[in-house]
Point group: C2
Chain length 169, copies 2
DNA sequence: CCGAGATAGTTTAGGCTTCAAAGATTGGGC
DNA sequence: GCCCAATCTTTGAAGCCTAAACTATCTCGG
């Protein structure tokens, strides 16, 4: 972990232009790790349940929420666009796994809920999913997992801070 | 970080069915962190260069490779399907950022290389990209980054081992 | 040689995803 | 009461992505 290029000075601006290769490597490693896990889960969801990760994620959000969520809420929790949720919900509704109902007092919004069948499906998928994740991360000692969890929390904080500062200056 | 459900025994199989909530939380946190960073970079690539992350990634792969890569090589390095690379390369070729050339001795394959313009574009984008990543991760102390880097390496190892074991039993 | 199997790339069908624009509704200030 | 800005959702266009089927080519054992 050396940083041979640090401390270069930009000829035009005169500002110190440090090379941030370490951060870049950290980000690349974070990304490939996430991609690897995600790919494994994706493949297993398809193989064992004939479904996809976004579908599973939407069911999971609804399951966690209990009494249902508006499309906008789902969009925020899944960190995807609202247009995305529209289509996703339409497909899941067509499959009979979720249902819409009106929100009393706001005719713009609509609630999304799991159907009984949706809940049954999700319970099955969720149990398998938990096992897959544990299996994929089983090479880490409990202390390593704890330390990683903590550091990722710090990283998330850092990213969030930088993002909110940028988007609302 | 407690694990209240650990040690449950499955009624049918009689096997110990430990609840792996900790691993799940670790994975969720890893995923949201990666998603957050990726979203920030995506938005900035669009805003400042009118391009996308996959395009940038493909240019980066070619830049790192020097003398060009076959489509299959790109596909492996980017961890995406080969059909995906076909389309991506076509768009970048249409924009004049990459070019194809034949591979002597293998008429099935073709080399992908940066055009001079593609290289110029990438250099600009790459510098900005490095800065963004550093900015997003600037809330971490150097020791934290080092520790996170190391632990992510361990995690990646664990995932890879579990995946290769599953896919080639 | 030559044919079987592997490899490189494309195509196809379908789903996921975003952004931007438009439609519907709400809520508050005047 | 009315207007206007904010909020909720959908739509449309474009791009990203995969799995699977397909074509073309290569390689190697016999």
């Amino acid at each position: 972990m050396t940083a041979p290029m640090d401390g270069v000075v930009d000829a035009e601006t005169g500002l110190a232009r440090t090379a941030h290769k370490e951060e870049l490597r950290l980000w690349l490693r974070l990304l490939t790790t996430a991609t690897l896990v995600e790919g494994g889960i994706r493949a297993r969801l398809r193989r064992d349940f004939g479904t996809t990760l976004p579908r599973f994620d939407l069911l999971a959000a609804l399951d966690r929420a209990g009494e249902g969520l508006t499309l906008g809420e789902v969009s925020r929790r899944m960190m995807v666009s609202n247009g995305n949720v529209t289509g996703l919900a339409a497909r899941l509704e067509a499959e009979g796994l979720v249902e819409r109902r009106a929100v009393p007092g706001d005719r713009r919004a609509q609630m999304l809920r799991l159907t009984p069948r949706g809940r049954r499906e999700f319970v099955r998928q969720s149990a398998a999913h938990e096992g897959w994740v544990a299996e994929l991360l089983s090479g880490l000692a409990p202390e390593e997992r704890a330390a990683l969890f903590r550091l990722l929390g710090r990283a998330k904080e850092s990213v969030r801070a930088a993002l909110t500062e940028e988007d609302a200056p």
